[in-house]
Each structure stands twice: as structure tokens, then as C-alpha cells.
Amino acid sequence: MAGKLIADQIEHSTAGSLDTQYVVQGSAKAWVNFNGIGTVAVRDSLNASSIQDNGTGYYSLNFLSSTANINYSVSGGTNGTNNSFPTGASTSGDIRFHTSNASPYKVQPTTSAFTITVSQDLNMGVPMDIEWASANIHGELA
């Protein structure tokens, strides 16, 4: 590819310097923003091949450039309700990744997929579809 820069360090004029490895390690390796109600659809993403609608409030994200191992970090959030953004501001819409304490949500993550569960309460008692959900992963790529 044209315009390639090879550098081990980036230096700011006043704010110090850092190793480029910090940038590589600290950047999100995949992210997705999706609509989980109606006909589930991805709004935008990076490094995703598909999203899977597994049931009420239960989704999987499949990605393309696999991670080196399953010990990657997943984070994300929802708009809190299954109403349209930005009206959701309640404390509901608890989002969890990989596993939960209730079957069938106990799913081991893989290097190319993880699961997302959304519920109305912290005990994952009432699964809930969500209109605005997002997730991203940090970690090492294969």
C-alpha cells in the first residue's frame, strides 16, 4: 500500500511521546452498532462479517480478522430501552458479553465470535430487544 510509515515512536511537540505499539495495542480491533429490534440489522461496523439474532435480547457478533486467543476485552452499551434513541435514559437495558448465568446464554467465546445479551434487570431475568446497541473489542489479532 502507498504512504506507509514505519515508526516505533510518535512524539508530540509539547505533550511527550509514546511508542506506536501503544496505538496498535490500544485501538479497537472490531466494533459494531446495530438495531436489535424489528428486522435486526447492522448500522455500521469494522471487522464484522455478520450479526446473529439468536432470540429476544440475545445476539452474536461474528468477525473477520480473528483474535489471537479468546482473552480479548469486550465493551459496549445500549440506549437503555427498546424505544427510539435518544429517549432511553432508564437504568434498564443491562448488557452482558460472552456468558450469563442463565441457559441458553452460556456460550463460550471464540476467536471469531462472541455473544451479547440484553435484559431489563441485572439478573438477566427478562431478556429485552434493544434498538441501539454497540459493542467493540480490544485485544491481539491473529
Partner: protein, 158 residues
């Protein structure tokens, strides 16, 4: 149409970043509905629009067998970390696909092998490809959705 650079040997993530910058996402109307457990409801695979753009463009995605090889490695009981990640980056990328070919690729990549290998065996279908308009328009009783018993291979061929 934007020309894909020669990507052989380029890290897959870098190829995807190029695609993100240069290609417009393509929302597919296709959905893949499958059942992989009698105790669970039907699952619906939704193609990612940026991935679909890569598939239609060609020269970006690795062949699907690469994912199967990595899955074999990951299934080993002593798996700790991928050591053959180079397969993703160094294998010649696949040529441009039609949308239908892309869906086939996606099935082979993201559906369980137990589903796509035997989708038409047994007493009922395990998998169907449909348009999103053919899915229920509300998510009422979502956890009870199943592939209709009325569907047959003849219907699918029609």
C-alpha cells in the same frame, strides 16, 4: 468502480480498514435462518453491510477454508493461541462474488458446520435462505420462532 489494491500478504485487518475507507456498505435483503438445537428457537444470520461490500468488491476476503482451518486449531483441547494466523493474511484473497455467492460464503463461515453439512437431512429442514420481508414483521414470541414444517426442498428450489 474503485480498484482493489493488490493485497496478497497484507494483514486482513489492514485490508478491512482500506475497505472501510473506500467502499460503501451494502445492506443485503438476504437472511439465513437456521436451527442448531431442538431446544432453542431459530437463529437468523444477518450479513454485515461492510462485509458484503468487501465480498462484492473482491480481492479483500480470505477463502473460507482458512476459517475452517483456524476453527480446527481452536477446537484442539490444548489450544491457547492461534499460530496459523498468517493464513488469514497471506492466502490469496477471493475474487469478487455475486450477492448469492457471498451468502453461501457467509453460511460456510458463520453457521455451525453441523447445520450446513446436513441442512437437508433428517425429518425437517435446518436452514433456509430468505428475504428479510419473509421474516415475521414483529418480534412477538421471538423465542418460539421455528422454520416452518410446511417448507420442503421443492419449495426452496421454486
Amino acid at each position: 468502480m474503485t480498484q482493489t489494491p493488490s493485497f496478497k500478504g497484507t494483514h486482513l485487518f489492514d485490508r478491512l480498514c482500506w475497505a472501510k475507507e473506500n467502499l460503501e456498505g451494502v445492506q443485503s435483503d438476504y437472511r439465513v435462518v437456521y436451527e442448531d438445537s431442538v431446544d432453542e428457537c431459530a437463529k437468523i444470520l444477518v450479513p454485515d453491510p461492510n462485509w458484503m461490500a468487501c465480498a462484492l468488491q473482491g480481492g479483500i476476503l480470505p477463502p473460507v477454508w482458512v476459517y475452517h482451518e483456524l476453527a480446527k486449531d481452536e477446537a484442539q483441547p490444548d489450544f491457547k493461541k492461534h499460530t496459523r494466523g498468517y493464513l488469514l493474511h497471506n492466502t490469496e484473497p477471493v475474487e469478487a462474488m455475486t450477492e448469492e455467492e457471498a451468502i453461501e460464503y457467509l453460511i460456510l463461515k458463520d453457521c455451525p458446520e453441523s447445520v450446513w453439512k446436513t441442512y437437508n437431512e433428517g425429518n425437517r429442514l435446518k436452514m433456509v435462505i430468505c428475504k428479510k420481508e419473509q421474516l415475521p414483521q414483529t418480534r412477538e414470541w421471538r423465542n418460539a420462532w421455528k422454520i416452518s414444517d410446511d417448507l420442503s426442498l421443492t419449495d426452496l428450489a421454486a
